[in-house]
Amino acid sequence: MKALGKVHKYGDNVDTDVIIPARYLNTTDHKELAAHCMEDIDLDFINKVKDGDIMVAEANFGCGSSREHAPIALKESGISCVIAKTFARIFYRNSINIGLPIIECAEASEKIESGDEVEIDFDTGLITNKTKNETYQGQPFPEFLINIINQNGLLNSLK
């Protein structure tokens, strides 16, 4: 499985309250949630994001609230993969459980800039920066988690 898209870059500790503020959690509608994705730190995100785009951030991405609305809003907004130096653990498992690919890679998080075109190979963990002509080796998932992701989430894998 691969992802290819243009990068939107953010910093450390992007918490789930800014990914989707609690004032919008009175709905479970994916489109309504996506419409407010990232708005407290980047009002323009939802206008500039395109289907297949990639989010890159620094340490502890997705910290804070356990709201699954956060990876749902990112996925629905068009984001095909999140790359970060590290992920907060609840966000990490939520993303796997709903089938939003994520990958940890400190080098990629450091070197990739907003607007770069990046390809990720999830089987090998290899990240290719087509704009800068660089590659970075990310941490591929263990087989147990690959199975969940390949079946598009935890519930499908239980069937």
């Binding site: 609690a22 407290d40 609230s65 907060a88 498992r93």
Partner: protein, 420 residues
Amino acid sequence: MGMTMTQKILAAHAGLEKVEAGQLIMANLDLVLGNDVTSPVAINEFNKAGFDSVFDKKKVTMVMDHFTPNKDIKAATQCKQCRDFCGHYDIENYFDVGDMGVEHALLPEKGLVVTGDLVIGADSHTCTYGALGAFSTGVGSTDMCAGMATGKAWFKVPSALKFNLTGKLNKYVSSKDVILHIIGMIGVDGALYKSMEFSGDGLKNLTVEDRLCMANMAIEAGGKNGIFAVDEKTIEFIEARSNKPYTIYEADEDAEYDEVYNIDLSKIKPTVAFPHLPENAKTFDEFGEIKIDQVVIGSCTNGRIEDLRAASEIFKDKKVANGVRCIVIPATQKIWTQAMDEGLFKIFMNAGCAVSTPTCGPCLGGHMGILAKGERAVATTNRNFVGRMGHPESEVYLASPVVAAASAITGKISQPSEVM
């Protein structure tokens, strides 16, 4: 090599004699929790997947606490969906307006969690029950859904940080100051993917309520769980509230820890976490005058009766400063009744505070005390992220109940010694 307390609970629930850090396991669950924000997503998935029963109707619980009493039509619709689901599947531990409370104050009070349990909750502060010697951790709605259907969840076995507590807290210093100090020391990802295990001689000087406040904020250091060694106080607390059988797990003497931190409780000072991260912990000698607009005393972190008693002692015969709103939110119906019976409400009302029905409300910027652009609040809650209590350009300062009360009186961030 031995196992940590957390590893022992996980091994026992996975039917394994031994587990080690990094191992992926499937474990049996003693309780699955959701609230009015996270349960609807889980229920949608449950129905979509075609499940037609829950694994054990006594081991699923839903608490309507985030946007209740319903703040708007959409919130009301989400609660109705939870109510209908629990009615349909005969889930008895469904708590709604009139018998609810902020979930992590409510479950220990109702005796629904006991020592040695393995609990998941679709709420990040589910780590609170580690205070009772249980393994409990926050998950998302899909995990909640799978847990409700199968009674199982997958886990990566965590390594651990050990916090060896010694000494005794000084007057007007609380366990909230201790946990803010610890988060300030290790950072918001200092315990990422790890357990935070608290033990040591100082434990005897912390009440179970003190420990609930500290375990509650393990997630703010990125921790998978926070867990306290079990002692007589734990057992006394459990036995007074629950008939459920419990199991005491102790860390092996040769258990391995990534780090061991020694914390002398007598050295901790009143601590405030500045915007916009809980790790921005400062003591009063590190900042000057900071004027405030609002104070919130409540939440799953500090809405217990001990917290209200401590705040009322500061408010006695004093007034909230002009231009400051102070909102007091007892965390459960039982705490509310206790506070009323003990005369605490009279003190709060005379001081000019507003007393609310139990709700998470302003803690997550839901309702009951939202901040306008540029406003500042001191809150006994657990998060101070951008926009957490309202406008993205508002600010939240995290503090203990006595610091919050003192700040309400002076209109600036203050310690109790300034008003007592």
